[in-house]
């Protein structure tokens, strides 16, 4: 099991505003030139605002899926099933918490296990048990 990626960024936005920028206006900040299928051809990135919604890029040639929404809890939490090539089957969770006058945005990209579902499942349990062990040793 490969350790999850965890990133934190503070913005001078309320959690509501940060959630809206992250989701509804994803095109305004996503580095499409280097991180998309279509590169410079990408006209739009769309994140459909509901569970089961699609995350996809739009080019003149059509649409290309990046992932789907597993949890839609504005303005606090977003969970995506990541289907882009090399990270197919991983998950991205983003949370938005108030921090002073702004918001703390925490992103976790996890599940860099094997693409075999059984292995993903067992890796999942490794994480559960490791977390359990960690919290129980903290309490000890």
């Amino acid at each position: 099991m490969v350790e999850a990626i965890r990133k934190t960024v503070l913005v001078d936005f309320t959690p509501e505003e940060a959630f809206e920028l992250f989701t509804a206006r994803i095109t305004s900040w996503w580095p499409v030139r280097t991180h998309s299928y279509g590169g410079d051809e990408v006209k739009n990135v769309v994140l459909e605002p509901h569970v089961g919604g699609r995350l996809y890029e739009v080019t003149a040639g059509g649409e290309q899926d990046w992932g789907s929404v597993l949890a839609w809890e504005p303005p606090r939490r977003l969970l995506l099933d990541w289907q882009i090539g090399e990270a197919c089957g991983t998950e991205v969770e983003v949370t938005f918490e108030p921090e002073g006058p702004g918001a703390r945005v925490v992103l976790e990209h996890r599940g860099f296990g094997a693409s075999d579902p059984r292995e993903r499942y067992s890796s999942g349990w490794d994480v559960v048990l490791a977390t359990y062990a960690e919290s129980s040793s903290k309490n000890a």
């Binding site: 580095p31 090539g85 860099f112």
Partner: protein, 102 residues
């Protein structure tokens, strides 16, 4: 880290990402891969060399064919790739928020 740079370059190309994705589903030969992609066999070989140099794939000889598969520690490379990707993406996210606040 130079290895990280190589992984970034290796996966920065659309065709190479398709090749890598195909290999995540199981080991394949060059001919197999070329049959599924809009690129020639020599081009697939070149892409595989880049992926191999980046430590993402390994190969073995099986009779006259060479079979490629995802390197056991290749996933650590993917993680490194996304680690720097998210730095870039979130920097841009924060910069957009700053710009709108001004």
């Amino acid at each position: 880290m130079s290895t990280n740079g190589l992984v970034l370059d290796a996966l920065g190309d659309w065709t190479r990402r398709q090749i890598f994705e195909a290999l995540r589903r199981g080991p394949r030969s060059v001919g197999d891969l070329a049959g599924d992609l809009p690129v020639s066999r020599p081009a697939v070989s070149q892409h595989l060399r880049v992926l191999k140099d980046a430590g993402l794939v390994v190969d073995r000889k099986e009779g006259v064919r060479r079979i490629y598969s995802v390197a056991p520690d290749g996933l650590a490379g993917i993680r490194a790739y996304f680690d720097s990707f998210w730095d870039e993406a979130l920097d841009r996210f924060a910069a957009e928020a700053r710009k709108e606040r001004e």
